[in-house]
Amino acid sequence: MIDYDKILNKTIKEIKPSGIRKFFDIAQEIDDVISLGVGEPDFPTPWSIRQKAIQTIENKRTIYTANAGLESLRKSISNYTKRHINIEYDPKTEIVVTVGGSEAIDISIRTLVNPGDEVLIVEPCFVCYSPIVSLSGGVPVPIETKMEDNFKLTAEALKAKITDKTKLLILPFPNNPTGAIMTRKDLEKIADVLRDTDIMILSDEIYSELTYGRKHCSIAQIDGMRERTIMINGFSKAFAMTGWRLGYVCAPQPIAKQIVKLHQYAIMCSPTVSQYAGIEALDNCEKEVQKMVNEYNVRRRFLTDSFNRLGLTCFNPEGAFYVFPCIKSTGMKSEEFCEKLLHSKKVAVVPGNAFGESGEGHIRVSYAYSLNHLNEAISRIEEFINELK
């Protein structure tokens, strides 16, 4: 009999299971739950993108592409970043097309991190950074952000965590789960701290198109930052293309050259059909994206207002499709709040501490749902809050 416990990789075994996953498993056991938990758009992928994929299959373009992705797609990505954040990346040497933003995060971290390197992770954040850092032998160092700073990273908080072992800063804005963004001014202060160091930045900008009121600014736009920034983006959130598994990394040539090595050995190339569809998305779908953004914005204001009225203080989130209300006024911990809400009112939201300790006292609420769905959920949460009093 094999003792599996002995043969499994030690680091993998030590990685904690995802806190979101844990909570979803509970929610799935209960009937008629209305969920506000999902992190993917409720809109269908715009039709012209789907049509492009159908044509691609009809034309039998179902073979491998270049490892780094179709050259035509990389050109479209280059034009898109030029148009949207005014940065030029060379399609031949600085762009790698990946299997979603997730793969982009994975191979970028693994390309940089040596055993013992410290990686600064701005929390609360998406759950995958820390495990990948640990698997690479790196040391995850959380930097907590606070509601009183609108969950932005401050120069002071950053400075306090920098040591001579610091290799990389992971900067996830617009942020999942808080909905916080970093403005040009905020980023300039971060840039001032990093400018004369060798610290690299992994800027996860997957929600860059989903901002409300002002345009997204990338840290790569700030003086002296492009050379130290690995910029990650993808198609899932902006174009409602989660299942297509398509993302990309933009990085200075010496880094991209190594990233593509890892990508070619692990993945070969991203799905060909998705890549052709991706060209249509970047070149021709800005109007569709704008429509979705307008709709998200109405829902965002609806939820922010509703939570504030219920006494669950909710700062104004300017990006992504989440609100992150504070539930401390109920006297409960995040997990307790979520479990009670789930059992008594059958509403599923995600406890904030699933995204790092600094998320404790909050819940993540997704507004990738119709207004009527959100309205129903809010009525139930209102009942829940009233019954606590």
């Binding site: 995802s18 996953r21 999902v38 992190g39 997730s102 922010t304 207002d305 599923a348």
Partner: protein, 160 residues
């Protein structure tokens, strides 16, 4: 369409407070705009979207295509006005294409509607022919899905 009307079409029971938050304005502004829409007749009333199968099992709906002879001076208007006066008639529209008037009729059962068409509609002067189509099942009404057994949100609780 106006953003406020779009929201009210989705749910006319949103409160002014909610609408004000959604459209980034004040409650007073929302109230004034709604009043104005009502005054101008843009908003003609407020109604509910029912799942007939649950609300009233004994109702049958039919779409009726009517071909008519347009009348001198008033075209189709007089005939449409005559037809819309019947309580059984829910909607009347003038159409382009193979027929002229599209009429929705509700009744207690197939026979009631059939008799209504045969005795009332067909006999109106100027009506050339009618074709009656009974509704068997409704899937979507005014942009709202009529609830089916299965959850239509196919997104699973997927997460890393």
């Amino acid at each position: 369409m106006d953003s406020l009307l779009q929201l009210l079409k989705q749910n006319a029971r949103f409160t002014n407070q909610q609408l004000a938050a959604m459209l980034d304005t004040t409650e007073a502004d929302i109230a004034a705009r709604i009043k104005d829409f009502e005054k101008k007749g843009v908003i003609m009333g407020y109604s509910v979207i029912l799942n007939d199968e649950l609300a009233d099992k004994d109702t049958v709906t039919a779409f009726i295509e009517i071909r008519v002879t347009p009348q001198r001076d008033c075209g189709f208007d007089d005939l449409a006005k005559t037809i819309m006066m019947y309580d059984e008639v829910e909607s009347v529209s003038l159409m382009s294409g193979a027929y002229d008037l599209a009429v929705t009729v509700t009744g207690a059962d197939l026979k009631t509607i059939a008799l209504f068409v045969a005795q009332k509609l067909s006999t109106i002067e100027g009506v050339i022919s009618t074709a009656t189509h009974f509704v068997l099942r409704r899937y979507k009404e005014k942009g709202i899905f009529i609830k089916q057994d299965k959850n239509i949100d196919e997104r699973g609780l997927v997460s890393p």
